[in-house]
Amino acid sequence: MESKYIAILLVILSTLFASFGQLFYKLGVDKLEFNLSMLTNYTLILGILLYIIAGVILIIALKYGELSAVYPIYATNYIWVSLLSLYILKEMMNYFKWLGVLFIVIGVGLLGVSKR
């Protein structure tokens, strides 16, 4: 089914936006002070905007794909967040996390190539 590939692509695109949104949100919250500077905390605002865009793309993805296929593929978000934490936030990865990422890749991949 062609529409299914559109759905998968859109979901993965949505997870990309969501993971960057999470990154900027976290960076913005770290800088957050409870005064007027909150309004010009562009990092935080960018994070929230990215989340909203991710949400809109996800809704469009659901137009084309089944919920029981789209929702699990959202686990791809964990992969991006792991990579972003490693390369941008310089957080430590360990074997458990890599193993987890591997399982998610296999699970999402299997879902992606399955017929429905």
Binding site: I59, E66, S68, Y71, A75, V101, F103, L111
Partner: protein, 112 residues
């Protein structure tokens, strides 16, 4: 130590989030950029927002190695809800994929 209350909140939040996803899926049918708001989308986003508001403090209360597997129970809700309310077929492939993803999420929790 992971307090039991945090596990309970996570399980509830995962369930609420899944129902939110269900409503969003129902509302996506009539979603257009020009007319983005309809009853199902609004309910879905609200439910999803509530689950997020529950998740964030609960995850801080306990260890991710214990809590992440319970976050993954959301996937199980999705299988049940999409079969019951959306008539989606739950193939063996889907079940295996989701099982792998749940294991993966749990490992990420163990490593955190």
């Amino acid at each position: 130590m992971t307090p039991l209350i945090s596990i309970i909140i996570i399980v509830i939040a995962a369930a609420i989030g899944s129902f939110g996803a269900l409503f969003i899926k129902k509302g996506s049918k009539h979603f257009t950029i020009k007319k983005p708001f309809n009853k199902d989308i609004v309910i879905g986003v609200l439910l999803y927002g509530i689950s997020t508001l529950l998740f964030i403090p609960a995850l801080k209360l306990g260890e991710l190695s214990v809590l992440y597997p319970f976050v993954a129970t959301g996937y199980i809700w999705i299988i049940m809800l999409s079969k019951k309310y959306l008539n989606e077929s739950i193939t063996l492939t889907k079940i295996i994929s989701i099982a792998l993803i749940i294991i993966g999420v749990s490992f990420i929790g163990f490593g955190s």
